[in-house]
Symmetry: C2
Subunit: 251 residues, 2 copies
């Protein structure tokens, strides 16, 4: 079972879009997948067509001790979702418990996802308690990076923090990078891609996700790219990215 945090504190780099579409692609390829919404914005939840203003999920698990079994729901064939829940922002306000507060998710999950082959956690854009819980519960991280300089800065900042955590915990971890919102015609995007290849060889999943407006339209009606425009570049790229993740194929 591969437990993967989809994470980058930089905003708008495609964490949610990647969790939704790579998650569905893995499910469509026959694997049992659970996706978890750790962002109080609830955009993973919304993107799958579930009411993110009302449906409880992670908030009850982290704040009230509800179980994964109680909160998860089947959203597609082979695909279960744990919604964010309307009270998830309260997690960041937990002040009791010191360092233990970072381990709540890992303990809550326990053995509940043993039947799953992949668990993907959609993280919020910050380095707060929700992100920390996701990191400590996972043995792999997937860092989406868009083809611009501020996103590159976000990547190096995250990798620095993560190496530190992994060493402190003596954890055996694996990092993956996926280049998103890739516009090949932009010199900057090509430059950022080369820079990442130089700095993190062996970590970049082989398929960059190209900029494709269909990926931004699906969420409005709760459809993944495969339901909304199955023949689009976005669909081709995420289908291929799922295969890259399965076979660990890098640039």
């Amino acid at each position: 079972m591969r437990f993967i945090a989809v994470i980058n504190q930089k905003g708008g780099v495609g964490k949610t879009t990647t969790t939704v579409n790579m998650g569905h692609a893995l499910a469509m390829a026959g694997h049992k997948v659970t996706v978890m919404d750790m962002d109080p914005q609830g955009h993973l939840t919304k993107s799958l067509g579930v009411d993110h203003h009302k449906t409880p999920g992670m908030d009850r698990i982290l704040l009230d001790g509800a179980t994964v079994a109680e909160m998860k729901q089947t959203v597609r064939e082979n695909l279960t979702l744990i919604p964010a829940g309307p009270r998830l922002a309260e997690v960041d306000q937990l002040t009791e418990g010191g360092a233990k507060r970072g381990w709540v998710l890992k303990q809550a999950i326990n053995g509940d996802l043993a039947q799953q082959e992949y668990a993907l956690i959609d993280c919020p854009p910050s380095s707060n308690l929700l992100a920390m819980n996701s990191l400590l519960a996972c043995n792999e991280v997937l860092v989406p990076v868009s083809g611009d300089y501020l996103s590159l800065d976000g990547l190096s900042r995250f990798m620095g923090v993560y190496e530190h955590i992994a060493r402190a915990l003596q954890k055996d971890t694996r990092e993956w990078i996926v280049i998103t919102r890739y516009n090949e015609r932009r010199r900057m995007a090509r430059g950022v891609r080369l820079k990442i290849q130089d700095t993190y060889p062996g970590k970049i999943l082989a398929t960059p996700i190209r900029e494709n407006v269909a990926l931004a339209e699906g969420p409005a009606i709760g459809k993944t790219i495969f339901e909304y425009q199955n023949k689009s570049k976005g669909a081709d790229d995420y289908r291929q990215l799922a295969q890259d993740l399965i076979s660990r194929r890098t640039l």
Copy 2:
């Protein structure tokens, strides 16, 4: 003196790009402007060419009681910056003090910015303590929204939260919206723009900021759009947006 929080918990919608370039445009138009980096990522700081890994600023003000006068630096004519500082993320881990923790920035600023005509605060993408401090210190908010559905969802979520706060504090506040990363050829972008005009009449600043790669390239070398490509669409739009803010010109 207009104290404006540039805020939206949705990531990557152009908060930093707007603070840098509208801030510089106001300064170039002859107004005294202070910009403050409330994001531990330090991207406002970086975008103005200041070393965001080392230079102290907001972190010392909020954690150690340093004064604005001690931490500010002149970065351009008429433009001063308070950098984020490398320890800013520690603010979110402050657990003592209850509701008082939201007012630290307001108290720290005190009268120190009385000489300034505009203060713009670049907020992080989350609804945490740093964002709250920014909101409570300001009497106006500027919400950048990019032309896609998840960004629209972020807008309505924020406006809901903000009305609630303003009413609770019986504060007289003013909200502005700016449409960013606008790609006129996309039907979705036009649709989002119309939806915002319907829902928030009188709040949308008249000039949408068009997608223009030059805006993403400047930060790599610490140049604002006016220094990097003064004749670009990005430069024209932000110059005009600054005038919209000054004269309160809306759609």
